[in-house]
């Protein structure tokens, strides 16, 4: 009868798909981020490691250089103190300079290439030259003794003015020497021991130190960039030219002492470091160049990418299976939920429809009773007016007057019934709203008892009053009064001649109980439980007039005030009702 199968299935499927998709998305994102971060770290680590390596090797180089420079300057100091050197320099006997220095510098030129240890071999010079006082190179009469040097290379050793501090330079030779084309040159000033002035300089050429790449592995290539050319014997000529261009460009862009960049050599990315070897020297600047292959780092990155990718795929598979199970697991209650909610929705819809129809019915009925009351009241008013007009006539017979007054009485009763019906209709429709205020119950009872006394057809009833003055209850005075009137009228109406009425009040907590009892024929036992129903007059005797709405109305009104009305008992010439209402604080009367 209700078709909710299809939407439920579709919803469950989409829920499952969504769950699986979300899990896959999360895993894919995590994998991608992991790969990205991991690669970045590997690259940064590799660069950091290589930079560290370069620094370490350079600092080793620096130490060796420092050692050699210190040794050389000490050598020059001692040399300058030699009277023969002095004599040669000062007595214009420069041709005797080299012969005089030959012995002194013999150890510099000796030792040959036997020593492979750099620290020991560091003082093995390839050539040396003296500069005269003007900074020009003094040629040796025996070039063999001082080391071969081309004329062009020798010219590079000259200064415009003799330096007064050590200068380190790197000079290139045109000669196509295969072993190494760069010489490291140290120019050490020679100070006169007498005047302290620079009288000459000793320029010593060494085979440059090489970055110790034995332990660094074959992936490291080092060389020297000097005179706009790169000398890296481990590279082919074209590669050297390419690298040289790179370095030249980098050096022209930045004037920093040390930097690095990445270049590709034979398709393999390389990290290239360069650092000025002779900052601040009078010789042209030269740079130590180290090229580290990034192949390791790249293969490591690739491996990492595969690893992370593999893990990602595994995670994805696992996630897929998990998501499936989870989806099924989650989907069951969701399925049930969907089913239940659909059922609930239907039930609710049903109940709502019923409620609406009931409410419609109720509305219609109350509207009907209200309409009926109004429809009834207008002809009754006309009727009453007509009867009263007839009573005003004086030329009727007395029995006609009696008949007319009875008719008038009946129209009044009918009016009361219609009033009660109207009120009940409003109660049923829930339209009756009470404005709660403190009501003086004692005074209300007194007034109605007075009215009863004033009635002409007195039954000579004794009235017992057992209540304190100024008992206040919470409620609308008009309806409280109606309840009291109903009860007291009943008490009088169903009384016997010479009987009594007892009105007693009792205060208990937040409520007030008003007991109204009267003598007279009791209510039949089987009728007692129906006396509060509509149109069920108390079946005590046919003599009493009543339409069977009073008690029902009284109880409804009492309940509307959060109170109640009940029959305490009716037997042995005594019928007693109890009215329960909420107590209220008395109103402080203001003297005016």
């Amino acid at each position: 009868m209700i078709s909710f199968k299809r939407p439920h299935l579709w919803e469950v499927t989409s829920f499952r798909t969504k769950l699986a998709l979300t899990i896959m998305l999360v895993i894919a994102t995590v994998t991608a981020v992991a790969i990205y971060v991991g690669q970045g770290r590997v690259a940064a680590n590799a660069e950091g490691d290589l930079r560290q390596k370069f620094q370490t090797e350079l600092s080793g180089l620096d130490k060796l250089q420092e050692l050699r420079n210190a040794a050389l300057s000490e050598r020059c100091r001692i040399l300058a103190e030699k009277p023969r050197i002095h004599a040669a320099l000062e007595d214009n006997a420069l041709e005797l300079l080299y012969p005089s220095a030959k012995d002194e510098l013999r150890d510099l030129m000796e030792s040959g290439n036997a020593s492979s240890d750099q620290a020991v071999g560091s003082l093995h010079a390839r050539f040396y030259r003296f500069l005269d006082g003007a900074g020009a190179v003094l040629s040796s009469p025996h070039p063999k003794d001082v080391g071969d040097l081309s004329a062009k290379a020798e010219a590079q050793l000259a200064f415009k003015r003799l330096p007064d501090t050590q200068q380190i330079g790197y000079l290139t030779e045109d000669v196509d020497r295969v072993d190494d084309a760069v010489d490291e040159v140290i120019a050490v000033p020679i100070f006169s021991t007498e005047t302290g002035e620079v009288i000459s300089a000793l320029v010593v050429g060494f085979k440059p130190f090489e970055i110790a790449n034995k332990q660094a592995g074959a992936d490291v290539k080092s060389g020297i960039w000097a005179d706009r050319r790169l000398h890296m014997p481990s590279l082919s000529k074209p590669a050297q030219t390419i690298l040289s261009n790179h370095v030249t460009r980098a050096l022209s862009h930045t004037d920093r002492a040390q930097n690095s960049f990445t270049v590709a050599l034979d398709g393999v990315p390389q990290l290239l470091f360069y650092k000025c070897l002779n900052p601040g020297s009078l010789f042209p600047p030269a740079y130590e160049i180290c090229v580290y292959s990034l192949a390791d780092s790249i293969s490591q990155q690739r491996r990492l990418r595969w690893q992370f990718g593999g893990v990602g795929v595994l995670l994805l598979l696992g996630g897929f299976v998990t998501s499936h199970f989870v989806a099924v697991r989650f989907a069951k209650p969701v399925e049930q939920l969907a089913l239940d909610s659909e059922r609930n929705r239907e039930q609710r819809r049903h109940a709502e429809a019923q409620l609406i129809s009931a409410s419609e019915k109720l509305k219609r009925s109350t509207r009907y009773s209200a309409d009926a009351s109004h429809q009834l009241k207008s002809p009754l008013t006309v009727l009453r007016a007509g009867l009263e007009a007839l009573l005003a006539h004086e030329d009727f017979k007395p029995e006609i007057y009696e008949e007319l007054s009875t008719l008038l009485h009946q129209t009044r009763r009918l009016n009361g019934v219609i009033e009660d019906l109207l009120l009940l209709a409003r109660l049923d429709a829930g339209h009756l709203q009470i404005q709660s205020e403190p009501v003086n119950l004692s005074q209300l009872v007194e007034e109605w008892l007075d009215d009863l006394d004033a009635l002409p057809d007195s039954l000579d009833v004794e009235i017992q009053k057992e209540f304190p003055p100024d008992l206040y209850v919470a409620g609308a005075k008009r309806y409280i009064s109606l309840i009291v009137q109903n009860l007291l009228e009943n008490a009088r109406k169903y009384n016997r001649k010479g009987g009594r009425i007892r009105v007693a009040a009792q205060t208990g907590g937040s409520e007030i109980r008003l007991a109204i009892g009267n003598t007279g024929q009791p209510i039949a036992r089987d009728a007692q439980e129906h006396i509060f129903e509509r149109f069920r007059p108390a079946t005590t005797g046919a003599t009493v007039s009543g339409h069977g709405l009073g008690l029902n109305l009284a109880r409804e009104l009492a309940r509307l005030h959060d109170g109640d009305l009940k029959l305490v008992g009716s037997a042995d010439d005594w019928t007693e009702f109890e009215l329960r209402l909420s107590a209220a604080q008395p109103v402080v009367e203001r003297a005016s």
Partner: protein
């Protein structure tokens, strides 16, 4: 024996011009550069270098008459001793061809050598008892700087001249040359290794010319 002969022949040579004909005389004063260092014990001279310029301290001048004179038949012999790690005298003018002996009067080795273009020699290390006394003949005019290879501070100067007419001024720069031949000459005053002043003089026998080097 040989030494005494050298000394006596030397004495004869020195006396010869003075005692012979009454030749011309030149006297005057050389304006000497101010002393660079605080006045030292005046008696001890030493050779100092200032900016590559060698001079005596306190300053002295060598005044000599330039011209073509005959070489003496027998070369004279002079001495520069090494005493208290200094050359004595520190500045010695000699005529070309003079032999100079270098006796070692200290109790240690000395190693005298010179790289000066006028005379290059190297006597090597020797002790005070070295015999014969190492000597060299100076036959090229010019300034010779003496050094000791062992004691680098030691300096001595030998001014080798073509003329036999020369004299070392006193500390005030005053000088007197006697027994000079008449004629027109160039009178020179050597002040340091780079400064030599010159003036023309006309000498007449028996007369005394007055020449000042401002």
């Amino acid at each position: 024996m040989r030494l005494s002969w050298v000394v006596s022949s030397n004495a004869i040579c020195a006396l010869l011009p003075a005692s012979g004909f009454a030749g011309a005389t030149i006297e005057g004063r050389v304006e000497l550069p101010p002393s660079h260092s605080a006045p030292v014990m005046a008696k001890r001279y030493e050779i100092v270098t200032h900016g590559g310029v060698l001079s005596t301290q306190p300053p002295l001048a060598v005044v000599y008459l330039e011209g073509s004179f005959l070489k003496p038949a027998t070369p004279s012999t002079k001495q520069i001793a090494q005493k208290n790690f200094a050359f004595v005298p520190p500045l010695l003018p000699v005529q070309v061809g003079t032999r100079i002996e270098f006796p070692n009067l200290d109790d240690t080795y000395h190693s005298i050598f010179s790289y000066s273009p006028a005379k290059r020699f190297d006597l090597g290390r020797y002790r005070p008892d070295e015999r014969p006394i190492p000597s060299e003949v100076f036959d090229t005019p010019g300034l010779v700087t003496l050094r000791c290879d062992i004691h680098e501070h030691m300096r001595g100067l030998i001014l080798v001249l073509n003329t036999p007419h020369f004299v070392v001024s006193d500390l005030d720069g005053r000088f007197r040359l006697r027994g000079l031949p008449a004629g027109r000459y160039l009178l020179k005053a050597w002040i340091d290794s780079t400064t030599t002043r010159a003036q023309n003089v006309e000498l007449k026998n028996g007369e005394t010319a007055h020449v000042d080097f401002p």
